[in-house]
Every structure is written in C-alpha cells, then in structure tokens.
Amino acid sequence: MENITQGAVVAVIGICTVFAVLAILWGVLELMRVIFTAKDKKAKAPAPAVATPASATAPVEDDSELIAVLTAAIAASLNQSTYNLKIKSYRRVETAPVWNRTARRDNLNG
C-alpha cells in the first residue's frame, strides 16, 4: 500500500514535470518565432517579380523520321518486328537536371 501511495506521488510529479518542461519549451519556441518573423517582415523589401510569360510555341515539324527511329528502338528492345508496332503518340518524359543526365550517360557509356 505504501508503495502505491509513493507511486502516485511519483506519477503525479512525473507527468506534471513532463508537461511543464515541454510547455516551457513551447513558450520559448513561440518567442523565437515572434522575434524572427518580426525581423523578417522588416527585412522584406517589396520586390515584386515580373513574370515574363515564356513564349514557347514549338515549331511544327515533320516528325516521321523521329517516329521511325522510335519504332525501330522499341522493336529492338521488345525483340519484335516493326510491323507489329504502331506509334500513336510520343511525349518527352523528362527534362532531367543536367547532373542526372550526365550520370545516366556515364552509366550507359561506362
């Protein structure tokens, strides 16, 4: 029984301390946020970015040569005749960053 009463004291003190410590940290962090966001607002000069609409209209070109290349590549990789394949559409999958492309090229060549 004595154990239980002692335990109750420990548990109450324990849970209160945990809450108190973390609540104090919360307070300190809020204080930090107030200080820094206030500073940020002052530092923020009005600098509206001028959006330049990119006029990227792709030139219409004859793509039959490209389709022929694609068909041949797919046929080669699937081990099939080009007669079984028909390319309906194609789309460039990615515009990978230059480093990704370099790495890929290195992998292919190396």
């Binding site: 154990n3 002692q6 335990g7 420990v10 324990g14 945990v18 809450f19 940290l25 809020e30």
Partner: protein, 411 residues
C-alpha cells in the same frame, strides 16, 4: 600411459558444454534430473528471435545482435558473459566490483560496461540527434504538448506494475517502455532494475517494430472520420538561425529543470547541432553512421547476453511484455486524446491523428499517422505534421526518464 590418455579424454569431455548441460546442479533455473533445461530453453528462445529478426525483419538491426548475444551467453562454459559480476547472486546489497569484472570478465562482460556505465545510450542519442530534423517541431511548437501527452502510458504502466507487485524501481523501468524509445529504456533500467534489462529491452524494441500493427486500431477507435479527414495548413519555413538555436535552447532549458535527462537530451542536441551547424559535416556523418552502428552492435549483443535462464525465464518477463503493450497503447491513446483536444481548441485545424505520433519511435509512428490519414483521403499528407509530435516525443520520454532517475535517488 593409458591412464594418462583416459584422464585426458575425460577432462576434455567434462570441459564441453554438452557435459555441462547434462550435469546441472540442482538450484540453477529449470534444472531437473541433472539436465539444464534453462540453458536449452534459452538457446531455443535465441533461435526463435534470430528467426524473427531475419525471417520477419522485426527491427533486425537490433534484434539480430540481441538474439545472437543471447545465444552466445547461454552456451555453457563459453565464459563470454558473467551476469553474477554485475548483479550478484542474490545478495541483499550487492556492490559491483570493477576489479573483478576486469580480471574475470569475458569479452561481453567488458563490452557490457558500456551499458552499465550508461555510455552506449548517450552515444546512440548523438547519432539520433544528427539524423533528426527538428524543423517540423520548430514550425509548429504546439506539437511539443502532444509529445508530452503521449508519455501518459509511461505513468499508467508504472502504476500497473506497482499493482502487480513490482518494486518502485522496477515499475519505473517497466513504465518507460511506454516512451517507445529503446536507448532511454535501457538507460533507466540499467540504473534502476538491472535484472530486468533483457526483458525490458526486448519488449521495448519488439513493440517499436510492431507499431504499424498496434497503433492503427487505437487510432480508428478514438477518432471520428471527420477528424481523420482534417487537412492541416502548410508548415512555415524555418530559418537556419532558428534551427541552430533550437538545440542550444532545448539543452539549456531541459538541463536546468531536469539535470538527470541531460545524458539523453544533451547528447541528442549535440548530434543535432553537428548536423545543423553545417561546419562539422564529417562529425555529423560519423555519428550517424559509423559510431551509431558500432555502438548498436555492442549494445545489442551485450543486452542480449544478459538474458540468462534465471533472470529471463520467469513470470515477471510475461508481465513485462503485457505491461509494455499496455504502456504503448495508452501512450498512443494519450497523444490522440490530446490531439482531439487541440482539434476542438483550434476549431478543426489540427488532425488528431498526429497525436499518436507523440510516442517517440522516429519515424515509424509518424509514418503510421500518415498511412492512417491517407486511407481516409489519399490527398492528405500528414507526415511532416506528425514529425513534430514524433520528435517532441523523444524529448518527452527523455524528460520522463530524467524524472524517474531523479525520483529514484530520493526514494
């Protein structure tokens, strides 16, 4: 001549482990008719745990060394580990003798000093600190309270253990399983109840592996569909200065209030400062990888090695396993209920699911919150919001451990 030969063979046979298994003296655990069933059962338990680690991938990085350490220590005559040197053989007031350990100890005894002196848990915390990004917490400091609420299970299980007849020190060690933090549990247990160390360490790490199974039913039970559907506002960006100041401030605040938590919180923040400072990248990488891995090996193998038949094969171990589950579940519930309170107070801006991530298993608990949230609404991304309470839980359970250690000194 032939006598010498026979004597040689007999003494060799007597020195084998097999001979030891079948000539056990009465009085050792589970020894019947001269057969040492205790060691045999422990070897089987070790093999089952090895299977769980490799076959089922339960926290393999820890369970594998733990289970193999158990295997090593329970081979008769292997002389790698002598628990008697650390916990005595039943004396009322046993005083550990370092001279004995250094003179008589085997490899695992020497490595176990790192556990016994509280070195490994702190070193692991440096690594965890360097791997942890505290910015979700800095951006949303309210989540600190969720990390505190999710320590509820620690204290409930502590009480439960007292009712089951454990001493106060033992109950504290069992309760801390509810903090869901392996190193913290080990630090508290090695100080307060070293005999329970293997059972508590294994329970704590197994439940961490089982989080994705234990938590979701409780989360669904305690929240409504409407609450689970809440989408939270994007977190604000956190500046580098804030991330630098955070570890320093936390160390000072926690250190001044609960000095006994400093070995954990202080080391956690040291590692974090390595990472955030940006000027100590080599140190940060070392503590995250090499140091952490080396210490994990030593910690796992030696904690496993403390599991001997007479301390592990007891009803106590079963109680610990059950109480650990209770502690875990109530911690989850505590976080969720506080999350619901925040949901009400913020008029529906906080998704209560992130409260369950307040148990400190990083990042599993946060991932569970994310998965449960996405089951209701696949476009809802709670992960970063849940990381706040998750890392707060680490601080919370370290503080709870500090409180226990401090109280144990005055009781």
């Amino acid at each position: 001549m032939s006598n010498l030969f026979i004597d040689g063979i007999t003494s060799f046979i007597q020195s084998t482990g097999l001979a030891k298994l079948f000539t056990a003296t009465e009085g050792t655990a589970l020894a019947f008719a001269g057969v040492d069933f205790g060691s045999i059962v422990m070897l089987i338990v070790a093999c089952v745990l090895i299977y769980l680690a490799i076959g089922k991938q339960f926290e393999p990085l820890l369970l594998l060394p733990i289970s193999f350490g158990m295997l090593l220590a329970n081979l008769p005559f292997s002389n790698l580990m002598h628990n008697v040197l650390f916990v005595g053989s039943g004396e009322e007031h046993f005083v550990m003798s370092f001279s004995d350990i250094l003179h008589k100890g085997g490899l695992l005894d020497l490595l176990y000093l790192g556990v016994k002196l509280g070195i490994y848990p702190s070193l692991i915390f440096i690594g965890i600190g360097a791997m942890t990004d505290f910015s979700p917490l800095i951006a949303n400091p309210k989540s600190l309270l969720l990390g505190a609420a999710a320590q509820l299970g620690v204290f409930v299980a502590f009480f439960g253990a007292l009712f089951l007849g454990f001493s106060i020190m033992e109950a504290m060690s069992i309760g801390i399983i509810g903090g869901a933090d392996g190193p913290t549990a080990i630090l508290v247990t090695k100080t307060l109840a070293p005999k329970l160390l293997p059972a508590i360490a294994i329970a704590a790490y197994s439940y961490m592996a089982l989080i994705p199974i234990i938590q979701p039913p409780i989360m669904k039970l305690l929240t409504t569909k409407k609450e689970r559907l809440v989408k939270m506002d994007n977190l604000r960006p956190v500046s580098k200065l804030e991330r630098l100041l955070f570890p320093i401030i936390v160390t000072i605040v926690v250190g001044l209030i609960v000095p006994d938590a400093v070995p954990l919180v202080g080391c956690l923040m040291l590692g974090n400062l390595f990472k955030e400072s940006g000027v100590a990248e080599r140190l940060s990488k070392t503590v995250q990888n090499e140091l952490m891995n080396i210490v994990t090996i030593f910690l796992g193998v030696t904690v496993g090695a403390t599991a001997s038949a007479d301390t592990f094969l007891r009803a106590q171990t079963l109680y610990i396993v059950v109480l650990g589950l209770v502690a875990f579940s109530i911690s989850t519930a505590g976080g969720l209920l506080f999350g619901k309170l925040m949901y009400v107070l913020t008029k529906g801006k906080v998704n209560p699911l992130i409260g369950s991530a307040g148990v400190s298993a990083v990042p599993m608990a946060a991932r569970v919150a994310q998965t449960v949230g996405q089951k209701e609404d696949p476009t809802n991304f709670l992960l970063m919001h849940a990381m706040g309470p998750n890392v707060a839980g680490v601080i919370g359970s370290a503080v709870a451990a500090g409180v226990f250690l401090a109280m144990a000194k005055v009781l």
